[in-house]
Symmetry: C2
Subunit: 483 residues, 2 copies
C-alpha cells in the first residue's frame, strides 16, 4: 500500500471531515504541552469509534507507516509529539461514558473522556482520585498512556492503581481485552505494562476505571515556613506520625510570589515555603489528625497556619497551588517544567543542592511539588530572547535530574519519558534493563510503528534474537517519499 492508497483508505474509515491533510490544520497538533519540541505530522485522523481506531491502526500496519495516538495534548514530556512522516490518531471524539456501575465502583469510558468528567459522572457520592493539574482538559487515554499522577496520589495512588481493564488496539490492528471490570484477573498482568507505556504498545479504546466513595470529611490547611528545609522536615514528621494526608504539597518563595500575583489568596510574599496539607476520611479521624498536623507544623517552626473555613476558601487554596505553572509566566518569559523524584527523607538536602545549581547557572529555579511522594517539579526560568539562555536552562534541568538520581531517585515521577527524558534513561537503567524493556516493546510492536522515538534512549529494531537490535529504519531513511 503506498501513501496515496493509505490516505484513501483512512478517508473511507473516518470520512472526509475527519481526515486532516492541510498543513494549517495540522499545525494545531505540532506539539503537546512540552513546547520546545515541534513536528507537524504528515496527516491526522479523528476516528469516531473504537472500530474506526482499529481500522486506522490496521491501515497503518498494512502501509508500514508509523503513527502516534494523541488525547488532549496536555502532556509535558512530548509523548504525543507527532512523527514527521507518520499518521496522528487524535482520540478527542471518543468521549462516551459507556457504563457507570456505582454498586461495584466501576466506570467504563472511551479514551477521549476528560479526567474531570469521570468524577463528574460519579458525583456526588464517588470520585476518581488521580488528579493531574490539567484535569479539566487532559483525557483518560492520555492518563493511561502516561500513568498520570496528581496532588492526591500520595494517599490514593496513580492511574495504574485505578485501571482494572483495557480494550486495546495492538500495532498490528488486533483488538484485545486486558483485565476487565474485576480487579486482579488471572493470567499475566499486562495492564500494568500497558498503563504508562506512552502509546508504544498500542492504543486503548475502552477503559474500565475504579472509582471510590467521596470521603465523609475534608480538611485543608496552608502552613507558612521560613525555609523549604523547615517545611520538608514537617512533611517527614507528619508521615512518620502515621498520618497519610490526601495531599501534601509544597511551594517555595518564588512560587508563592508568582501565584499570589495571579490568585490573590493573601499568601505572605517573602516567606520561604508554603505547605498545603489536605486530610480526608471519616469526620472523627479528620478532626483528630488535623489537630496533630497543626501541632507538627508549629513544632517545625510555622508561626502562620491557615485553615480553610469553607469550601470557597479550600477551593482558593487549591487554585493557588494549581495555578503555579501558568503563574510562573508572570515572573519569567519562559520556563521548563522538570519532573524528578527523590526519597522523601532527602528532600531538604536536594532542595539546597538545586538552589546551589541555580546560583551556579545564574538562573531562577522555582520549586512546587508533591512533597509526600518526593516528586519535585522544579521550574527552570529563562528568557529565550537572551542568546544561549535556553540551552543553559536545559542543561541545568538535566543537572537537576542528576541530583535526583544521586539521591537515589528517578528521572520522572508522573510526566513520563516521552522524547524529553529518553536521553536520561541510560543514566537510570543498565543496558540489560533497557533490553528487558525492549523485549516487551518488540512483543507487541515488532516493527516499531507505535509512537516511535519515545521512551527508549536509542530507537532500535526488534531482531529475531531477543536482545539483538538493528538501527530503526525511520532514522536510517525517511518515509517522506512514501506519500
Amino acid at each position: 500500500m503506498d501513501g496515496r492508497e493509505l490516505v484513501e483508505r483512512l478517508r473511507r474509515v473516518v470520512g472526509d471531515r475527519w481526515l486532516l491533510l492541510d498543513e494549517h490544520d495540522l499545525r494545531t497538533y505540532e506539539s503537546d504541552g512540552l513546547l520546545q519540541y515541534q513536528q507537524v505530522p504528515r496527516l491526522a485522523v479523528l476516528p469516531g469509534t473504537a472500530d474506526e481506531v482499529r481500522e486506522c491502526v490496521a491501515a497503518c500496519a498494512q502501509a508500514d507507516v508509523p503513527w502516534v495516538a494523541r488525547g488532549a495534548g496536555s502532556g509535558l514530556s512530548g509523548g504525543a509529539l507527532p512523527v514527521k512522516d507518520g499518521v496522528l490518531i487524535v482520540l478527542s471524539r471518543l468521549t462516551r461514558i459507556l457504563e457507570v456501575d456505582l454498586d461495584n465502583g466501576r466506570v467504563c469510558v472511551e479514551p477521549g473522556v476528560t479526567n474531570a468528567a469521570v468524577s463528574t459522572a460519579v458525583a456526588p457520592d464517588f470520585f476518581y482520585p488521580p488528579d493531574p493539574s490539567s484535569q479539566i482538559v487532559c483525557t483518560i487515554g492520555g492518563n493511561v498512556a502516561e500513568n498520570s499522577g496528581g496532588a492526591h496520589c500520595f494517599k490514593y495512588g496513580f492511574t495504574t492503581n485505578y485501571v482494572t481493564g483495557l480494550e486495546v488496539v495492538l500495532p498490528d490492528g488486533e483488538l484485545v481485552t486486558i483485565g476487565g471490570k474485576e480487579l486482579d484477573t488471572p493470567g499475566y498482568d499486562l495492564l500494568g505494562a500497558f498503563v504508562g507505556s506512552e502509546g508504544t504498545l498500542g492504543v486503548a479504546t475502552k477503559i474500565w476505571l475504579r472509582v471510590v466513595p467521596v470521603p465523609e470529611a475534608t480538611r485543608t490547611l496552608v502552613a507558612f515556613f521560613d525555609s523549604t528545609r523547615q517545611a520538608g522536615e514537617a512533611v517527614s514528621a507528619i508521615v512518620q506520625a502515621g498520618i497519610v494526608p490526601g495531599a501534601i504539597e509544597m511551594m517555595d518563595a518564588t512560587t508563592i510570589k508568582a501565584t499570589e500575583a495571579m490568585a490573590h489568596a493573601g499568601y505572605p510574599v517573602g516567606r520561604g515555603a508554603a505547605l498545603l496539607v489536605e486530610l480526608d476520611g471519616a469526620e472523627a479521624e479528620c478532626d483528630a489528625q488535623f489537630t496533630e498536623v497543626t501541632r507538627i507544623c508549629a513544632d517545625q517552626g510555622s508561626d502562620d497556619v491557615r485553615v480553610s473555613r469553607d469550601e470557597a476558601e479550600r477551593a482558593l487554596f487549591w487554585k493557588t497551588r494549581k495555578a503555579a505553572f501558568p503563574a510562573m509566566g508572570r515572573i519569567s518569559p519562559n520556563y521548563f517544567v522538570q519532573d524528578g523524584v527523590v526519597p522523601r527523607t532527602t528532600l531538604p538536602d536536594v532542595l539546597v543542592r538545586i538552589d546551589e545549581l541555580a546560583a551556579e547557572y545564574g538562573l531562577t529555579v522555582a520549586n512546587v511539588f508533591h512533597a509526600g511522594d518526593g516528586n519535585l517539579h522544579p521550574l527552570v526560568c529563562f528568557d529565550a530572547a537572551v542568546e544561549g539562555q535556553a540551552a543553559r536552562a536545559e542543561e541545568l534541568a538535566g543537572r537537576i535530574l542528576d541530583v535526583c538520581l544521586e539521591a537515589g531517585g528517578s528521572i520522572t515521577g508522573e510526566h513520563g519519558v516521552g522524547v524529553d527524558k529518553r536521553k536520561h534513561m541510560a543514566k537510570m537503567f543498565a543496558e540489560d534493563d533497557l533490553a528487558a524493556f525492549q523485549r516487551l516493546r518488540c512483543a507487541f510492536d515488532p516493527d516499531g510503528r507505535a509512537n516511535p522515538g519515545k521512551v527508549m534512549p536509542t530507537p532500535r529494531l526488534c531482531g529475531e534474537v531477543p536482545g539483538v537490535y538493528r538501527q530503526h529504519p525511520l532514522e536510517a531513511a525517511g518515509l517522506a517519499e512514501r506519500f
Copy 2:
C-alpha cells in the same frame, strides 16, 4: 550440553550438599499445596545466593532443560509443580533480609524470606499488609509469583501493590533489575507483569517491598446471622456506607461447625453465617465506624455481635478464621479449595447457586471467603475412598467457577492459575487475548523453559511471527533421554 554435563555443572555451582538426585529426597518436592497433582522432578538444586540462582538458570538454558522455581510450596494452584524431566530450583536458602529502611518505608529481601518475617523485621511500628493464611511458611518469592492476597487485601491491596522493585534472572540467564526502591520508575512497568506471572517469565532473586505504618487502633468483631444472604447484605451495606474495613470475612454454617471443633472460640454451631469485621486506622475513626458497623449488622438481622475485648480475643477470632482450611479435615476426609471471584453485589445469589449445585452433586460445599473482595473459597468436600467421588467433586468445583464467570467474575482471586486452572482460561479469555499473554511470555522465555505447562491453557512454542505457535516440544517428545 548433555544431562550428565548439566548435573556436573550444577554441582559445581551449588556444591554437592545442595544438589538432590535421589528420588527419596526429591519426593519432598513432588507437589505444592495442591495435592491432587504430583510429579517428582529429575533433580533439585538449592542455591544459596542470587548469583548461584543465575548460574543454575544459565546452565539450564545452555542445556535447554526446563526448570521450575519453588519457595515454600504452600501454593494452592500447583504453580510449583515440578516438570518431569526438568530441574527444580528451590529458593528456601535465600532467606536474608538485605535492607530495612523505615524512613522511606522500604524493605529489601531475598525470595526465600517468609511473608511473616517481613512484618517481624519492621515491627512494631510498620507491617507488610498482604497476609495469606499461610503467612508463617509461605515465602515472598512465592507471593510475588502468585500475586498473593489475604484477608487484609480488601483495604490494603495485593502483593502487586507492595512490590516496588525486583532483581530477576531471566530464562536465558540474564540478570535484570525492574523498578527499584522508588515507586513508579520510568519506562515500561514490567513489575506488574512479573508479579503474578507464576514463574514463567523468570525468577526473582531480590525483592523491594513497601511497608506501611501499623494503624493506631484496631477493632474486631464477629457477627452471627441466620443466613449467608443476610451476612452478604450486611457486607454490601457496610461498603456502601463508605466504610473500608481492614478485613471483612465470611464463614458459612459448615465452616463455623468445623472451625469451632478445632479452635473452641465459643461460636454458635448451627448459625447460618459468621461475619468477621476488622476496622483499623486512627483511634477516633475506628470508634466512630465501629459503632456504625455494629448498627448495620443489627439492621441486617444479626442478634449476636461479639466484640473482641483484648488482643487475646482478637487473636482467637483470627485463629478461627485462619483454621478454616485445616479444620475442614475434621468433617470431611478430603476437600478441594476452590478460588473464584464475583462482583460483591452478586454474592448472595451466587452463594444460593453454589448450594443448589452442591445439592445436585450430593456433596457438601463449605464457604469461607474474603467477602469484601467477593473472593470466594468454596471447599468442596469429598471422600476419595468412595469410587468416583473425587472426580465428581472436581467437576463440581469447575461448575462453581462457571457460576462465578456467569456472574461477571473471575476464575481465581489470589491462588493463581498454575496447572489447576489452565483449562478454565479459555472460558474467560478470547483467543486473541490469550495470544497477547503469549506475546509477553515469548518475549522473555522464547524457548518455554521457565515453569512450562502452567498458566496458559495449551502449551505452545513461540513462533517467529507473533501469534503463530507450534506444539511445545515437551509434549511432543520427552526429555528423559537427555539425562
